[in-house]
């Protein structure tokens, strides 16, 4: 018999973001008794401080920008004043709508035990949850996510700063911002603030923005952001922060390694995220870490028997769809006798700036190293892009000799949507010939994908088969 104060479950997910929610819901669906332990509110970063509210702000910023540039489609531009507060209120309203999906009652009705409180390991398979008591399970899935990594810059704490965790609580737009970090988070916020009326400077230490993406994508996006008036500085490392003299207009000054100073009303730190595992007392559970990341193998097992980890806390790709994928894999592995492995190279990623940057698989250099060839198509040539005034961007696909897709990058309005046929083809072994041999409706943006595949098809006609085909035609005509 279990003592009264101990709750026992078949599966316990620690963390109520995507990883934990998918684990718990899936376990309930399969008839196991799952629990979900969360410190704050179900939904995680994605819902509260990440994808959902940021995409809501991007939608507003996109609309405002489209209104100011309506002449590009022959419509009189609007310079109606923007209310930052109403944009933020609308974001919160949209977020509240989405939040219904993550209502604790919904999960309780599925049969999930939902407990609120901070959890820590007290031993193998045993957790203590503040205000709840002891929770025991033979299967624990750690899904505690990540948090902003704030670099230890002298003066930064004193000056104060925003991150994606605090930014959605603001109600007034700072007239000017310096954003530290030119990755997806920094650039999405940069575009939001700039389009809503702020003067924005982005400082990126690497030689280019979006340094994990295709270099051409970085260049196209940089050009787009600069055209909108955003100052983008690369190879610029912040070394300290100072408060400007009182009474001055803009209060915070970032000093770079070259001694340049960048002054603004507000700072935004977007220099990466780090796994959130402090307070879990992982060592008591026998769970090894790399820094704050929970170490997992490709079956998502930690060093402790009966403990798995999924999502951002593993230090893997920091995406909701990655957490979903990992949670489904971990759930199979913890409930069923066979072991599935994750293929994190197959996880696509999208930066939701305008244009969006979407990628799956190998990068261009890596693909070339493996003998891949690159097929590139510029949207400036695409009929729908021309009529929609959305010609900025390209489709780039790498493929091996047989046309199998190694990787793909799309920069376009809606690139995250347009990439899906290539993600599907790559996942299921369809090649560029198969893509080229499929009818795409005209006129669409996704035709750009077909055009890149057509470029591959033409190389086949340049090969031996093509020469024979032309000889045959010449002989028959």
């Amino acid at each position: 018999m279990v003592p009264m104060s101990v709750k026992e479950y078949d599966v316990v997910a620690v963390g109520g973001g995507t990883g934990g929610l998918v684990t718990a819901a899936g376990a309930a669906y399969l008839g196991a008794r799952p629990a979900l332990i969360e410190r704050a509110a179900l939904g995680g970063d994605c819902l509260w401080t990440g994808c959902v509210p940021s995409k809501a702000l991007l939608a507003s910023a996109r609309r405002a920008h489209g209104m100011r540039h309506a002449e590009e489609v022959g419509v009189a531009a609007s310079s109606a004043p923007l209310s930052f507060r109403s944009v933020m209120e609308r974001m919160r309203h949209a977020r509240a709508t989405v939040a219904h999906h993550d209502d604790p009652e919904r999960f309780r009705k599925m049969g999930v035990g939902v407990h609120f409180g901070a959890a820590s390991f007290t031993g193998p398979g045993t957790l203590e949850v503040e205000g709840v008591g002891t929770v025991r399970s033979k299967r624990i899935v750690i899904a505690t996510g990540a948090e902003p990594f704030v670099p230890p810059l002298p003066g930064l704490q004193e000056a104060g700063y925003l991150t994606h965790e605090s930014a959605f609580q603001m109600d007034e737009l700072p007239p000017s911002l310096v954003i530290l970090g030119g990755g997806p988070v920094g650039l999405e916020f940069a575009q939001v603030y700039a389009r809503l009326g702020a003067r924005v400077t982005v400082l990126e230490a690497a030689p280019r923005i979006l340094s994990a993406e295709d270099p051409d994508a970085s260049a196209v996006l940089r050009e787009a952001l600069e055209e909108e008036g955003i100052r983008v500085l690369t190879g610029a490392t912040a070394v300290r922060v100072e408060l400007a003299a009182p009474g001055g207009e803009a209060g915070k000054v970032v000093v770079t390694d070259e001694g340049d100073t960048h002054r603004a009303h507000e700072l935004f730190v977007a220099t990466g995220r780090r796994p959130r595992s402090e307070g879990l007392e992982l060592e008591r559970g026998g769970v090894d870490t790399d820094g704050t990341a929970v170490r997992v193998d490709d079956a998502l097992r930690t060093s402790a028997s009966g403990v798995w980890a999924v999502g951002d806390v593993t230090g893997g790709p920091q995406f909701t769809h990655a957490a979903d994928y990992m949670a489904k894999t971990a759930l199979r592995n913890c409930l069923l006798p066979f072991s599935s492995r994750v293929d994190l190279d197959s996880v696509p990623r999208v930066t939701y700036t305008d244009p969006e940057v979407a990628h799956v698989g190998l990068g261009e250099a890596e693909a070339r190293d493996r003998g891949g060839r690159i097929f590139h198509y510029e949207l400036a040539d695409l009929d729908r892009a021309i009529v929609d005034a959305a010609t900025r961007g390209f489709v780039k696909v790498s493929a091996d000799r047989k046309g199998r897709i190694l990787g793909a990058t799309i920069v376009a309005s809606g690139a995250g949507e347009l990439l899906q046929p290539l993600i599907l083809a790559r996942r299921h072994g369809l090649g560029l010939s198969d893509v080229a041999g499929t009818i795409f409706p005209y006129p669409t943006m996704v035709e750009g994908v077909k055009r890149a595949a057509d470029a591959y098809q033409r190389t086949r006609l340049e090969g031996v088969g093509g020469i024979l085909l032309k000889k045959l035609v010449s002989w028959l005509t």
Copy 2:
């Protein structure tokens, strides 16, 4: 020897729209000597009076509408006055940009003989081209397209009317229009005119608009159009047109079979299109017709040896991408010894209203008749749709017991883009399990496709396999 006035080619395409252009370019690419005969300008309806200019107008109309409804994303709405003339000028500018693809010099450089003039058969394999002379070929591909079908309504000719052939020449927006026909052309124009400021009434004889599409799609689109202030009347057959008394505000009156009258400044006829074959003297070439449609088999052969037909003139699907597909098939069949067949059921179609309506394969009723099951997902539930304020619409997929895709309809902003993964999957035999087993980036609109596929996956868990899986889980936990 061929007399001086006779030009001889390996392949002759009659008609310089998509079908003819693709035929001629493909033949040149394969090393044959092709010619292209066109009465007016290369590019066809698609470029001059169809897809290209209509999508340009829809882009402007979408922008104007988005500006007036910007509160939906927390941005102050704009009521800036619209200049119809500048929208039309912008459309012509975009069209001119696209037209570079169809520049005759580009085709001549490929090795295509481009001849302008009306063509007619003078015998098997022989054409007379006005102002050019006799053109002979063992392989003739008829690609003369279609034209608006104007019903023989008493009073219509006297009153005057617009069609898609004349509408792009206008520079002033009629304050009010009655549109005859609630198919894709009628509805796209209805939305353009309404969003640009006209009062629009659509009269459709069938019981619903877009009668070839999914009934739910018709209903959702009708609701959207009516919310924008468009009057949509179904089951309403026009029987005659009258001119209103001089001096009255609106000059033209459509009388329906029920005696209702609909008065407007202008009429727009969008009651279908009919193949354009008059003047070709097809009987002299031995080419049979059905009405004005050139009769073809599924290898696109006409009744005359050495004559094929592609695109709208066959009376098949009236889409640029269908003409492209047919032209590629006909070219293979006329140049190479094996015979390919077209599968016109695989041709997708999109109505480019907002929301768009995109479809491929079987309709719901047909799919159910074949034992298919329907998987439906409402965009109102989708996170990206919520944050983008684009929740109107759905994804509906029909699949057989094994999950193979029979058909799919998407109603959504950008539905024409979102359908492509399903078109690709259907074409290459991937099933809904394969779609569900693919990672979709979050948060995207195309995730709606995955959600529909997930609904299929859940039915598998309800089957024998699912029961066994749950038993296994229960036994293991």
